[in-house]
Symmetry: C2
């Protein structure tokens, strides 16, 4: 997952337009990944508004100009960092859907809540939710990503009326559960066994997606 | 709805402990309501972290000392402002539940989404969601309010296992829908007819609350 629009939209090989080959950059191989890692940490810690390209560059041990060179504006850096954080979900959506409609609600709920249960993936995901709620730019990035990628993938598999709207209402159930459990920490939801939560959430998700539950 | 803990918790008449009678204050009657109105506007515009007692006092045309006198700390001012914004929901919850379990999911969805459709109530409610997502103090206030008041009222009427957990998962469906529709503005959800959204959300809410849908 490379994070530039033209690469992910058409799924073809990177064109490397105006971009140095990884092995030829003075920063050495891996600089791009280090920048994305540093960007996730910076956005997670400081939120979109207060995050700075300078701090991201410092965290990645590169010159700020290289951050701009690879990704462009701060908004584009954020989009790339978000896309990396969502990459497991996007690549998993094929697997989740491959099993057919039966039980897709439970598989989806288990997968997404599982990412929030995992400390390694929880913080960047929470940073995205927090930034998107408070910053219009971050909200646009998340909106475009959710509606244009994840939703279209799920909706395309659904043989029901209003597949996109249904996908979003299924997402709403999961996002709302994430918000109350991991951000607001409302009890008893926050302390409930995650497996119990998954089983209780799954029928609502399933019903939205397939009309059954 | 007065907003101080001792008055709302036991439902008895205000004790006015250490508080001047409304008609005897130099600020004149109505100062308390003006402070709450100004507080809602300030928290909505600037968020919890950047809101100031001084600005709230100025907006209400009172001395900052009177704000502290009536409500105490900034956190307590926020709690009171939130409680006022939630007051229609809290007083309506009796009405919503009075109709019995049949259709309670749809009545709840219609009522809450209706508050977000109304420009007069949308902004303070969105301010609460935004503050709660980004500020730990605001999250605690919202958590205590939701779990201790609204949830207990709803849960107490449910004759199902895990009534509080079920109430929270129903809330999660509605809160997630609010988030995607009004904050993230994901399409087609953001532009969908609200009545259509209510009808599609209602069965999930109903199923959480009563096990039927």
């Amino acid at each position: 997952m490379n994070g530039s629009a033209e690469e992910t939209a058409n799924g073809s090989a990177p064109k490397k337009r105006g971009r140095p080959a990884r092995t030829s950059t003075a920063q050495g191989p891996g600089a791009r990944d280090r920048i994305l890692t540093a960007a996730r940490a910076e956005f997670a810690e400081r939120g979109y508004d207060r995050a700075s390209i300078r701090a991201i560059a410092k965290g990645a041990s590169v010159d700020p100009a290289l951050v701009h060179h690879y990704f462009g504006t701060k908004e584009q850096v954020f989009a790339a960092a978000v896309e990396v954080a969502f990459a497991p979900a996007l690549s998993a959506s094929d697997t989740l859907l491959a099993g057919g409609p039966d039980g897709v609600g439970e598989r989806l709920a288990r997968f997404i809540l599982g990412m929030y249960e995992n400390p390694a993936t929880r913080d960047p995901l929470l940073a995205i939710v927090r930034s998107a709620v408070t910053n219009e730019t971050a909200a646009t990035v998340l909106r475009n990503l959710v509606t244009s990628k994840l939703m279209i993938r799920i909706a395309s598999e659904l043989d029901v009326p209003d597949p996109e709207l249904r996908s979003e209402l299924a997402t709403a159930q999961i996002v709302g559960t994430v918000l109350l459990r991991y951000v607001i920490k409302a009890e008893p939801l926050a302390s409930a066994d995650v497996e119990k939560v998954i089983v209780m959430v799954a029928p609502a998700v399933q019903r939205h997606l397939t009309g059954e539950g």
